[in-house]
Amino acid sequence: MPTYLLKKLVTLPLILLGVSLLVFVALRALPGDPARLMAGPEAPQEAVDAMRVRLGLDDPLPLQYLRFAGSALGGDLGTSIRSGRPVTVEIAERLPKTISLALVAYGIAISVGLSAGMAAAINRNRWPDQLTMLFAIAGASIANFWLALLAMNYFAVELGWLPLMGSGSWKHYIMPAITLAVMPTAVIARMTRASMIEVVGQDYIRTARAKGLPERVVMRKHALRNALVPIVTIIGLNFGSMLGGAVVTESVFNWPGLGRLLVDSVRFRDYPTVQGVTLVAVTAVVMMNFLAEMLIAAINPRIRFD
């Protein structure tokens, strides 16, 4: 592994430290009192106070953070205020759902985005290019909650082909995964096209062609390989925004993943759960970026990131 990658790996704990501090401070700055929310609006003040003690929210803030950080290091993210269960259990129950949905969506995005982008690049400035790019840009211009609701109304209610919401069978994946895939597909298609066009114009491609190599070999072995670098980068970088998209998609489709857990937990001021989910999401994003960089190093060892 190149040393710059090792260096990157070392900064991961630093980033997580920053993130945990930021989330902790941000959550405590939120208006709204979890004790009041748990006790309900009709509860008398003494009940709210008792609730606050029960939830351990009456301690000084630095103590609360140290307690959180200390047990987080030992793999304990605390107890959810809302459900009374360990946050790690809550996350473990939801994480596979989000990961599987994200993987299916990313699979769609990468396969469709790559093929559409290559098709566009090869047919540059002709109708396949223009059509693909129009779809790509239009796809990136629609709010996905609305697209999701329209799809639900059409495919589940009008036609009755697909289950409306929830998870359980492979059919439940279709609508949420496609909705979630629209945005990254568009991004990947555009990046693939731009990158391919740039690479095709380079000297070594001309050389390869001049050598009399078949066009297919030129495209696949030389052009695509080099064009992949920025594409893989963008795929890695977009993972975070796709997790963000999952927040919305999961809410609409009642998908029992981390995104919905996060929204519900912010609403209930369930501090430990929000902290835990954010840490997991950030770790996933950082790891994805890291993976992308390793992949790039494997594709093209000359490239380095500082």
């Binding site: 980033i15 959550l27 939120l30 709204g32 990136a140 709010a143 731009a194 975070g240 809410s251 994003v285």
Partner: protein, 288 residues
């Protein structure tokens, strides 16, 4: 045929170059046209609107499009066309404030990191990495929850998660230019570091920043809609597109127009900025 093609090659190439020149400008033209339409709607809203965008006629709620109300009416009996037209003002405001804030914060940070280097660079880029590692929506939810819902707080949240993009962009430009001959020459001639930063680096960075701003503009409008969906958008009765669309979604099944027209308006605006951004990038990027 082969000979003819070969013979025609130079002219063909000239024609192709012209085609390319045209197609680049075509993107700019189409994108510019769409953005121009939004601008026009914003300016002419009072003239074009068939009704007061705030006037509620409860007995006329949720009407489908008609001659009197070309886009129909919303759940409070307000004219949707008027609200979409006035909403253009808010969307442009969103773009200006959202992108402006991100540029104003991100560019100096990236510039400082790239030109000063050392510890400053590391601290700034570490902070940017922390911010960037957050899924944008998550960060925005936290920020809006702290500041309270409302259009400006929403824009602050959206701007914050675009800051790292500009900081990285500027840092890369600065690093690239720092080693270039004319900057070295300027330094040799005794120019001070701030002077170099402003005169050379900032001027050279203008192109990429403009392109990035145009591309971010679309994101700002879309993010605002997503956050409205999560209940963190503009306060009523503002005719903000994202808020209108997210209010309208509750009637899907009975009335589609309430979310359709603001949705289309958002789509065309984002489309316009994206096409324009693509065109500008092609034009300003010397490599293509």
């Amino acid at each position: 045929m082969t000979e003819i093609t070969a013979a025609l090659a130079p002219t063909d190439s000239k024609a192709r170059r012209r085609r390319r020149w045209l197609s680049r400008r075509r993107s700019i033209f189409i994108g510019g046209l769409l953005v121009g339409l939004v601008l026009l709607a914003a300016i002419l809203a009072p003239l074009l609107s068939p009704a007061d965008p705030y006037e509620q006629v409860l007995s006329d709620a949720l009407l489908p499009p008609s001659w009197e109300h070309p886009f129909g009416t919303d759940d409070n009996g307000r004219d949707l066309l008027a609200r979409v037209l006035y909403g253009a003002r808010l969307s442009l405001l969103e773009v200006v404030v959202g992108v402006g804030l991100a540029v104003l914060v991100g560019v100096p940070l990236g510039l400082a990191a790239g030109t000063i280097g050392g510890l400053v660079d590391q601290v700034i880029m570490w902070t940017m990495d922390v911010l960037f590692a957050f899924p944008g929506v998550v960060l925005a939810i936290l920020i809006v929850s702290i500041l309270g819902p409302g259009l400006f707080n929403l824009l602050i949240a959206i701007a914050i998660f675009s800051v790292p993009v500009y900081a990285r962009l500027m840092r890369n430009v600065a690093l690239g230019l720092k080693s270039m001959d004319y900057v070295e020459a300027a330094r040799a001639l005794g120019a001070s570091t701030p002077r170099i930063m402003f005169d050379h680096i900032l001027r050279n960075a203008l192109g990429p920043v403009i392109v990035q701003s145009t591309l971010t503009a679309g994101t700002v409008v879309l993010s605002a809609a997503s956050l409205s969906f999560l209940g963190m958008g503009a306060q009523p009765p503002m005719p903000e597109w994202g808020a209108m669309m997210s209010d309208g979604r509750n009637y899907l099944g009975v009335n589609i127009y309430m979310s359709l027209f603001p949705g289309l308006a958002i789509m065309l605006t984002v489309l316009g900025f994206n096409i324009l951004g693509d065109g500008l990038r092609d034009l300003l990027d010397p490599r293509s």
